[in-house]
Amino acid sequence: MAQSMNDEHILEIDNIGKTFRRRDDTDLVALDDINLKVKKGAFISIVGASGSGKSTLLRIIDGLLEPNGGTVKVNGKTVTKPGKDRAMVFQNDSLLPWKTVIQNVAYGLTLAGVKWRDAAKTAQGFIDLAGLSGFENQFPHQLSGGMRQRVNVARGMAVDPDILLLDEPFAALDSQTREIMQTELLRIWQQTGKTVLLITHQIDEAVFLSDEVVVFSARPGTVRERIPVPLARPRNLDIKRSIEFVGLVDQIWKLIEEEVKAAAKT
């Protein structure tokens, strides 16, 4: 407690393992001994080949899935189920199609028992922050993919979590919209000071956004390498052309390539 907040680890992942039982009763080891500590306010990305257990880890952190071993601690408390201190943003904009934008953004709050008037007020704030003003009463199917994903992120932010967990939130968007969303996410992160854990398969996205990129090995997922990103903030899209940036992307690419090749051999 005497420690300054900035040095505290808001998220501590110790020896997490996860084995799934397949239909044919064989075991599938998805995660093997994951260890990771994340400082408060950090922006961390996880990259790795598909099937390397990234989503599984995020679900465990969120409390949706139980690990076979190890612990996840958030603010020093062991995670056993979903909680207010974490919010998840899924890849597919899992918005409720029968609810309007503002109802969707307020969804987590209303589930927590917040009165509609207060929930709507909070939701409005995040709608404005996410650049969705004027769309409050539209339904998801009336919005573009990019807009829907903004709603999705705003909904996660609205419950005021300490950690925002994002599972490939922009994967379904075209590259232009994705770049816009990346800068928007940076802006929102800077304004709110949340800790963000982002899964992505876009390496340049990971480098552009993060303080640190965690590279997963091929299945079973382990932390293969942690790459700090020393690029100055605030960042704009121009840095994607800097030599430093390109070098980092290249370095991470090679690591993942090695992993994929090694996995193909076995």
Partner: protein
């Protein structure tokens, strides 16, 4: 000119749908009129539209139409909502537990494939002539489509939406009220639409054998006195009831799930 008309009739406007209805209904009347004037001249078999209309007005004037309407509408109006309610509840129970579904499912589908209508005489023997037998028969024929679509709708609910609710720490009840049930609603309404058509068949058959008033009773009575015009007048009223229900439930279905059209 014809091309333009065709484009108009294919349109989505309110006028286009009214025009479509008038056109199809009008052509039916014309074909009917021509048939009675040329091929089927035996008035016991078919009467021209105008005579049916006159019989309809006579029934209204004599108060018979009102009597029969009261009996039928009261029976359907009480048993149909009960059928929907019971059907939804049973569907919810079946969807809530795999074990119950596995045990109850086969029995339900066996029951569902029995032509319950054929049991009408039995119900009338048990429950007597009148309201009770009608109520039970309508309930039995109308409940199954609702059970089936409710269970299917609840099970079809988007797994991603359920996981999202879970990640916001939703309780089981909250997941039901905010995700699975709203998701299932349009399914349920489509079941209700099918159930409505079945309920009308049920009520008519029940009234054929087991009552002293009602549209079915009137159809039977008219057929026994070879009054084809009156018979058809009641059949058309029943057709109207079926159509109105179908239109209402269809539009409700679309209104409840506007995202499906887009």
């Amino acid at each position: 000119m014809l091309h333009k008309l065709n484009r108009f009739l294919n349109g989505e406007t309110y006028f286009a749908s009214v025009a479509r209805f008038v056109l199809s209904f009008g052509s039916l009347l014309i074909i009917w009129q021509i048939l009675t004037a040329t091929v089927v001249t035996n008035r016991l078999l078919l009467v021209p539209p105008f005579e049916v209309f006159r019989a309809f007005m006579d029934e209204i004037a004599s108060g018979e139409m009102w009597n029969n309407a009261q009996a039928t509408v009261f029976a359907v109006g009480t048993s149909f909502p009960v059928a929907v309610l019971v059907g939804v509840l049973m569907g919810v129970v079946l969807a809530s537990s795999r074990a119950i579904s596995l045990m109850g499912g086969p029995m339900l589908s066996a029951l569902n494939s029995v032509p319950i209508i054929a049991l009408a005489p039995l119900f009338i023997a048990w429950l007597g002539l009148g309201f009770a037998s009608k109520f039970v028969l309508v309930l039995l024929v109308a409940v199954f489509p609702v059970v089936v679509t409710t269970e299917a709708g609840l099970r079809a609910a988007d797994k991603n939406l359920i996981e999202t609710a879970r990640s916001f720490n939703a309780t089981r009840l909250q997941i039901f009220t905010t995700v699975t049930f709203p998701y299932a609603l349009p399914f349920i309404v489509s079941g209700v639409r099918v159930a409505w058509a079945r309920a009308l068949v049920g009520i008519v058959v029940a009234e054929f054998f087991g009552s002293f008033a009602g549209f079915g009773f009137a159809v039977m009575a008219a057929s026994q006195t070879f009054d084809t015009a009156t018979l058809l007048a009641y059949v058309i009223v029943l057709g109207g009831m079926g159509l109105i229900g179908s239109v209402i439930f269809q539009s409700l279905e679309e209104r409840l799930a506007p995202w499906r059209k887009a």
